[in-house]
């Protein structure tokens, strides 16, 4: 096998086929993909499906806790899961920069296969393009996915109601701070690790505890702040968080305090927020805490009766801090 990607690997000829066989098919091996049709052919026994797509451009490509490939699978699986669907099939398209290491590509693809297997999804179609040196940041990945929407489940951004309890499955900001520290070489050494994970089995656990959960959203770019603001707007409700209840790993706390950042705005890749009617909140929380991705699940706030659509935090001082929709990228500050 060659050790570097060249333009020939994207030209559709011998080299492309060799790459597909030696790398992609080696790991993504499944009955549908192996048919090698131009389009994957699947038979579905349901009418309502969830369909999503996402592109991944992370830098650095490899970080503590994962890589771009793992992100690409988890991101799309999670979008399906939080829509109340069972993720089934994924596609993956690669845009690779000329000169990219094939060994690294193999590592990425292997991660994707592992995550897909863990999540119970099959990668059934794909594409590979190669662009000239300088035209991509190493590698860009797009994944699209379909899932079967569960019956009796109606999860929607507009469904939050007054009295709903807001639960998160663990600590805020792990992924974003890991990336920020690795990318910007901030000189911080420690155990920061991305929380990148497929959340579909956790969502299944939650829905088994109570299928009437109003909203579930995964908190990715823009952090929990972005997600809660979106829900607040679409459901036309006010969300109140409790500062004391926001879960933070000591590493993230130290790093965000040092850099003047707010963990509510930092990206996650393995966290979801659920809006659960008060009567069922404890049940859902207990169920989450039995699941490996929910051991640290906590209640962080609720939907109040206040009018207007806003998100705020009740601070340790007894005051309120507004949590706006994030604007621009989070920058470290010294002021």
């Amino acid at each position: 096998m060659d050790d570097m990607i060249t333009l020939s690997h994207g030209s559709g000829g011998v080299q492309t086929n060799r790459l597909i066989n030696d790398v992609f098919f080696k790991y993504f091996n499944n009955d549908i993909l192996n048919q090698m049709n131009d389009a994957a052919q699947v038979e579905l026994d349901f009418k309502k499906l969830a369909f999503t797509t996402d592109s991944f451009v992370v830098n650095p490509l490899f970080f503590n806790g994962g890589n771009i490939g793992k992100l690409a699978v988890c991101g799309t699986v999670n979008d399906l899961a939080v829509s109340g669907a069972k993720p089934l099939y994924l596609t993956s398209a690669f845009i690779i920069e000329e000169g990219f290491s094939i060994k690294e590509l193999e590592e990425i693809v292997k991660s994707m296969a592992e995550e897909a297997h863990k999540a119970g999804v099959k990668i059934v179609a794909g594409d590979t393009k190669v662009v000239e040196k300088g035209s991509a940041d190493g590698i860009f990945i797009n994944t699209s996915g379909i899932g079967k929407i569960y019956e009796n489940v109606d999860i929607n951004c507009a469904n939050a109601k007054v009295g709903d309890i807001i639960i998160i499955n663990g600590s805020l900001g792990d992924h974003g701070m890991t990336i920020m520290c690795e990318r910007n070489k901030l000189g911080l050494e420690g155990n920061l690790k991305s929380d990148c994970a497929c959340l579909n089995s956790l969502v299944d656990t939650m829905l088994e505890a109570y299928e009437g959960i109003h909203v579930i959203r995964d908190a990715t770019r823009g952090g929990v702040a972005a997600v809660l603001n979106e829900i607040s707007e679409f459901s036309q409700v006010t969300v109140a968080l409790e500062e004391n209840m926001l879960p933070l790993k000591e590493e993230v706390k130290g790093a965000t305090e040092m850099l003047g950042l707010d963990p509510l705005y930092i990206a996650n890749e393995g966290k979801l927020c659920a809006f659960v009617p008060e009567a069922y909140a404890q049940e859902v929380l207990n169920a989450m805490r039995e699941h490996p991705l929910g051991y640290d699940a906590v209640i962080i706030g609720k939907v109040t009766e206040e009018s207007g659509q806003k998100v705020y935090v009740n601070t340790v001082v007894g005051g309120k801090r507004l949590v706006d929709m994030p604007s621009g990228i989070q920058l470290p500050r010294i002021c």
């Binding site: 000189g187 000591e250 040092m258």
Partner: protein
């Protein structure tokens, strides 16, 4: 221009120190706190220790509040 955070001095090498902040460590300039020794707490601003933290004074502040809190309960 005042964002600063307490950290514990883990090691020293001349004017360079390794300081622990919330389970993370960072190299910090120690030029401004020549009296610092390992296990001292210093205030870190933009990668530089700018002052020693007086643990005794911190305790005084907290003890006063603790007493106030206890008086409130009684």
């Amino acid at each position: 221009m005042c964002l600063a955070i307490p950290g514990k001095v883990l090691s020293l090498d001349g004017n360079n120190g390794s300081v622990e902040i919330g389970n993370m460590t960072r190299d910090v300039f120690m030029h401004l706190v020549p009296e610092a020794v390992v296990n001292d707490y210093v205030l870190v601003h933009a990668g530089c220790a700018i002052q020693m933290i007086d643990e005794a004074e911190a305790k005084i502040t907290l003890d006063i509040l603790k007493e106030l809190a206890q008086n409130e309960i009684c």
